[in-house]
């Protein structure tokens, strides 16, 4: 197994079940059914891009939610959340000023520091852009340390595209931003299709490129295959997986993916680590 960035192991004396209650300082509407929640960070809180928190609404339960804000502005930590069911529904009924529980950060992270000097491709589908945004912020902040950088992003409809207002900011930071949708509307002038196809527009992808992807699993599988075809090696290809999660600390058994636990060995994996299992049906 490659030496992936490992999580911050908690001191054994800490009760891993104990949440910190933090204030919701702002809630932003993003796209239909998706909002970003800015939380006041607990004292001394730091995280790495790609890590997630367990957000807790008493009486409803916890949900694993990636951190979507800039790692260098640790006073406020943002979570971009799609309203799905019980817990996320309760979060959507919260107001600024309310307090919710937070445990974290958990999990592995995008290898931002390791790829200085390389080309970087970020390939996201739908809400999968949220856990990649902290990495994009970091790449933009240290843009001169990297070769070519591209964000390839796809959603079902144009109205579902997250963070559209920041695309131009990223472009100004010399990041190529390629966007596609499955279904166009009357105003859409961009490409229609899926993320893997759009990768073909990046002829410079190759052995000196790393690709990081997050989105629906099927999209990531096709993206991975396309990336390999375009010369990216299994060691430099990273995916962020999603599984049912209860404890986030490797004690509840829910998030297993073959030999690993997504909560502590993932969610970010090198393709090489999980390749034998990624294409097994219902695994």
């Amino acid at each position: 197994m490659p030496d992936l960035p490992t999580l911050s192991a908690a001191p054994a004396s800490v009760d891993p079940w104990q949440p910190a209650f933090v204030e919701i300082v702002a809630i932003h509407d993003e796209t239909p059914g998706v909002r970003t929640f800015d939380l006041a960070a607990p004292h001394g809180y730091t995280f790495e891009p790609g890590q997630f928190n367990m957000l807790y609404v008493p009486g409803y339960g916890e949900a694993a939610i990636s951190i979507s804000s800039h790692p260098k502005s640790p006073q406020v930590i943002s979570h971009t959340i799609r309203r799905a069911g019980n817990v996320t529904g309760a979060l959507f009924r919260c107001q600024p000023g309310d307090r919710i529980g937070l445990r974290g950060p958990f999990g592995s992270s995008w290898p931002v520091g390791r790829y200085r000097g390389a080309n970087v491709v970020i390939a996201a589908g739908g809400i999968g852009l949220a856990p990649l945004r902290p990495a994009i912020y970091q790449l933009a902040a240290h843009r001169e340390d990297y070769g070519r950088v591209a964000v390839v992003y796809g959603s079902r409809h144009p109205k579902d595209l997250l963070y559209r207002e920041t695309f131009d900011q990223w472009r100004r930071a010399d990041i190529e931003v390629l966007v596609t949708v499955d279904f166009a509307d009357d105003h859409w002038t961009g490409p229609i299709g899926v993320v893997p196809t759009l990768l073909e527009q990046l002829p410079w992808m190759g052995p000196h490129t790393t690709l990081w992807t997050c989105g629906p699993e099927i999209m990531m599988r096709f993206t991975a295959q396309q990336a390999l075809r375009q010369g990216i090696t299994p060691d430099h290809l990273y995916l962020s997986l999603e599984r049912n999660m209860n404890c986030a600390v490797g004690l509840c058994g829910h998030c297993q993916f073959g030999p690993s636990f997504v909560c502590k060995d993932g969610p970010v994996y090198a393709y090489r680590q999980i390749a034998p299992f990624l294409f097994v049906h219902d695994f």
């Binding site: 891993p16 949440p19 009486g59 339960g61 058994g253 829910h254 073959g258 030999p259 219902d282």
Partner: protein
């Protein structure tokens, strides 16, 4: 009397187990041991040696369990029942956190743990191995479960070296029995009129010192060991005798991890899924299955909330549920998850097999699915990925 050394043995008349129970009780332990409940032997409160199922043996096979008296049987010649040590370290249901709403936020409180120490009599090699596997899960990873830790620390473990195996036992193939591994406080071996007690810890020594035991006569320790070794031999020779009824099953462990993980698309998975009811019995009785789910329990006002942890099983739909649907939607994918976890990926995760060969999942499966048979059906080839 000076405490006997760790590793030393004392001999007591059988009836003196009563004194062992009383000594532990007077030290504040809740003493539990094998007792018959609803036709099965489980671990329950023990105050009197007459409560022990002496002279009883268990008939076990796939989907079959029955107790019967056997005039030749000793005090501990039955083997494991449906219950293991698991509920004593990981209760089927327990509160993790209590919350009370205040005007601005939530006050949290960690519920008290009933940490009255528990002494368990009659544990087998497989039971002790299972406990050390649970220790790896809950104590030896990056995060420690404080509730498990507290309960575990107060356990007093009295093991028994097995002299008889059920047809469902296959500890010998995993090297988890029939002899006890290290880790017990006191280890019992049964002779005709006596028990030999091996001292396994300082705590065990302090208790043994108060039992007025004598030194075993020459040859008695060897004789006690031989009974267990003879059983192990019978279990090993089973394929020769073809006598499955009395000497256990066999799980071939050579390349087991790779045989399983290399056969994820084998047709056998769909074949076993046609028999499996996805009832989750196997995971409930397994001494190492540790999956849990946390539920919210709140009062009517919603101002007082308890987070309850309960046992969960990978055979349920909820276990793998995500908003995209369950990752394991079929019985086939769930049985495969269970077996590959138990016997293969456990090695990657915890550096050990997740199975100790106790056979509980075979006996308590309503349709008698036998993991040793399922593994054998996958074949002995290690496919090249």
């Amino acid at each position: 009397m000076a405490s006997p050394r760790i590793g030393s043995w004392i001999k007591i008349p059988k009836e003196r187990l009563q004194q062992l129970i009383d000594t532990l009780a007077s030290d504040g332990y809740r003493v539990v041991g094998p007792r018959i409940r609803d036709g099965a032997i489980i671990l329950d409160d023990l105050t009197d040696i007459r409560q022990l199922p002496a002279g009883v043996v268990d008939e076990q096979d796939g989907g079959h369990y029955r107790l019967r008296e056997d005039p030749t049987a000793g005090w501990f010649d039955f083997v494991v029942g449906p219950q293991s040590l698991k509920p004593f370290v990981l209760p089927p249901r327990e509160p993790l956190l209590q919350l009370q709403r205040t005007s601005e936020t939530w006050q949290t409180e960690t519920p008290e743990i009933d940490d009255r120490p528990v002494a368990v009599l009659g544990l087998r090699g497989c039971d002790l191995h299972a406990l050390s596997i649970m220790d790896r899960v809950f104590l030896e990873g990056p995060y420690v479960d404080p509730r498990y830790e507290k309960r575990r620390a107060s356990l007093f473990l009295i093991g028994v070296h097995c002299r008889r195996a059920a047809p469902t036992c296959f500890c010998h193939s995993l090297k988890t029995g029939p002899a006890l591994p290290a880790g017990f406080d006191l280890g019992l071996s049964e002779l005709e009129e006596h028990f030999l007690l091996e001292v396994g810890s300082r705590r065990g020594a302090a208790v043994a010192a108060r039992l007025q035991g004598e030194e075993p006569a020459s040859g008695e320790i060897t004789r006690a060991r031989m009974a267990t070794r003879a059983l192990e031999q019978r279990m090993h020779d089973r394929p020769l005798h073809g006598d499955r009824r009395t000497a256990g099953r066999w799980l071939e462990t050579d390349h087991l991890r790779d045989r399983l993980l290399g056969n994820l698309e084998h047709p056998r998975w769909s074949e076993v899924a046609e028999r499996c009811l996805a009832c989750a019995n196997c995971t409930m009785v397994c001494p190492t299955c540790f999956c849990t789910t946390v539920e919210e329990v709140s009062d009517l006002s919603g101002d007082s909330v308890t987070r309850m942890r309960r046992w969960e099983s990978c055979f349920t739909w909820e276990h793998s549920y995500t908003t995209a649907g369950p990752v394991h939607p079929t019985t086939q994918s769930r049985y495969r998850q269970w077996l590959t976890h138990k016997l293969a990926s456990w090695h990657d995760q915890f550096g050990t097999s997740g199975c100790v060969g106790c056979g509980r999942c075979i006996t308590w499966c309503p349709v008698g699915i036998d993991l040793t048979e399922e593994v054998a059906a996958l074949g002995n080839e290690v496919p090249h990925a």
